[in-house]
Symmetry: C2
Subunit: 254 residues, 2 copies
């Protein structure tokens, strides 16, 4: 049983990378074989897992554009059950280089095909856009996990994202499901946070994860040490919330 | 005297739109003829100024792809000296449609040429990527204003952005300057904010604006009413900080 999840939202700074990295680490802690594929040229997921520019010799770029076998690319991380395919700035060029490819939206799906059954979960961290890299991820995925910051602009962009998901379902990937909508950076002292939560509940109902990720400075400190929250501060609210999200995802397995 | 400023940073959610909208409004309040060009398909600057999907008949897309005269596109706003060229989701297609254009990076520069002298300031709100829309903005601009959130990932992406700026200066726009680096969402209670500020001061020195934008919930509430901070809550820290930034920009005029 292997599940490929795209973590996507074209709105910037909503917690895509923080979610991809920390969910992957708790899945690995629960002994699920997990792979993170960094599909963002900013390579934040790579550095969030401790892989600086010196550790990114072979990346998502080589896998997609040069058709290098992913088994020759993914690297071990500090967690036993977690591997990473890093990214780097060369991936910026891929958005343009993919344009003349035949089936340009299916390149990533083809790349991941050979390793699909080596893992229980493959999580793709997407860039903040609806361009070819995100389209490739949505086409390769079984489901999409959508983080939404508890802010007005983040809520506004959702209909654009859901339209894109519907187009992908219709033309590129009939089986694409919505894994869930995740509220992030929730601050219980702010009315805005509560308003966005109420709107999201009305709009998404069951599709909204029961877990809400609270705003927690430990989550934004951890990347500066190249460590996920499970290794940086397991006692924090951030760790508690991402563990609870992981339990929800694992419960979907049945 | 007319100045075209690109507000850009490929890192998502760092305060590009909040800066473009609120700086433009205070410039207009200081009776500078100001135009906001929304170059982001998310159209957050458009909605932050009160222009919902129903008010975006002609947009940046028509100006760039169909070569419609910008005088037939820009609209009046609630502020006398402020106009807006809105955006909408069709602009997502422009990233791919521009690829075969001759001089594909200079399309926006050509579009804005006829109206350049109608304004004292033209501010372009860029999407969170280094793709063709941002390259077009950097090529059309006299200077680039770079908002940086007081977080680790935001600081990490700066070298990628500065490399891109150098490439644009070398090949596309020799005159491109750096207007300044702006720290946003600063929270004086957090060590992380202070650390990022110290790093930024060391790294950028003079290029760092003296003004730091503090985290202020009023700034994130205002867009849900379609109003900039000057109309939503002039007494807030957010308004105070963006006024102070405006004074710094106006002092650069001499
Ligand atoms: N729950 C949280 N509490 C506090 N800070 C958070 C939280 N989640 C994320 N952050 C911080 O907020 C910033 C944005 O988060 P992140 O980079 O994960 O978003 P993103 O959607 O991946 O951004 P991009 O659109 O640039 O890819 C980061 O600096 C991160 O450390
Ligand atoms: N100083 C501030 N204090 C509090 N909230 C802020 C501040 N500046 C911006 N915000 C909020 O943070 C979120 C991100 O800001 P904004 O949308 O302006 O960033 P952006 O860089 O334009 O994002 P994108 O990369 O998606 O274009 C928004 O919800 C905004 O309302
Ligand atoms: Mg990210
Ligand atoms: Mg924006």
């Amino acid at each position: 049983m292997s599940k490929i999840i795209a973590v996507a939202n074209q709105k910037g700074g909503v917690g895509k990378t923080t979610t991809a990295v920390n969910l992957a680490c708790f899945l690995a802690a629960a002994e699920r074989k997990t792979l993170v594929v960094d599909v963002d040229p900013q390579a934040n997921a790579s550095s969030g897992l401790g892989f600086g520019p010196e550790n990114r010799e072979k990346t998502t770029y080589e896998m997609m554009i040069d058709h290098v076998d992913p088994r020759d690319i993914y690297q071990d991380t500090e967690l036993d059950f977690l591997k990473l395919i890093p990214s780097d700035i060369r991936l910026v060029g891929a958005e343009i280089e993919l344009v003349p490819f035949e089936n340009r939206e299916k390149v990533l799906k083809k790349s991941l095909q050979p390793i699909r059954d080596d893992f229980d979960y493959i999580l793709m961290d997407c860039p903040p856009s609806l361009g070819l890299l995100t389209l490739n991820s949505l086409t390769a995925a079984d489901s999409v996990l959508v983080p939404i910051q508890c802010e007005y602009y983040a809520l506004e962009g959702i209909s654009q994202l859901l339209n894109t998901v519907r187009l992908v379902q219709k033309h590129l990937n009939h089986g694409l499901q919505i894994e869930g909508i995740l509220l992030t950076m929730f601050d219980s002292r702010l009315n805005l946070s509560k308003q966005v939560r109420d709107e999201a509940l009305k709009f998404f109902g069951e599709k909204l994860f029961k877990t809400t990720i609270r705003r927690n400075v430990k989550l934004s400190e951890a990347p500066s040490f190249g460590r996920p929250i499970i290794l940086y501060d397991i006692t924090s609210y951030g760790a508690e919330d991402y563990l609870s999200l992981t339990q929800e995802i694992i419960n979907h397995e049945q």
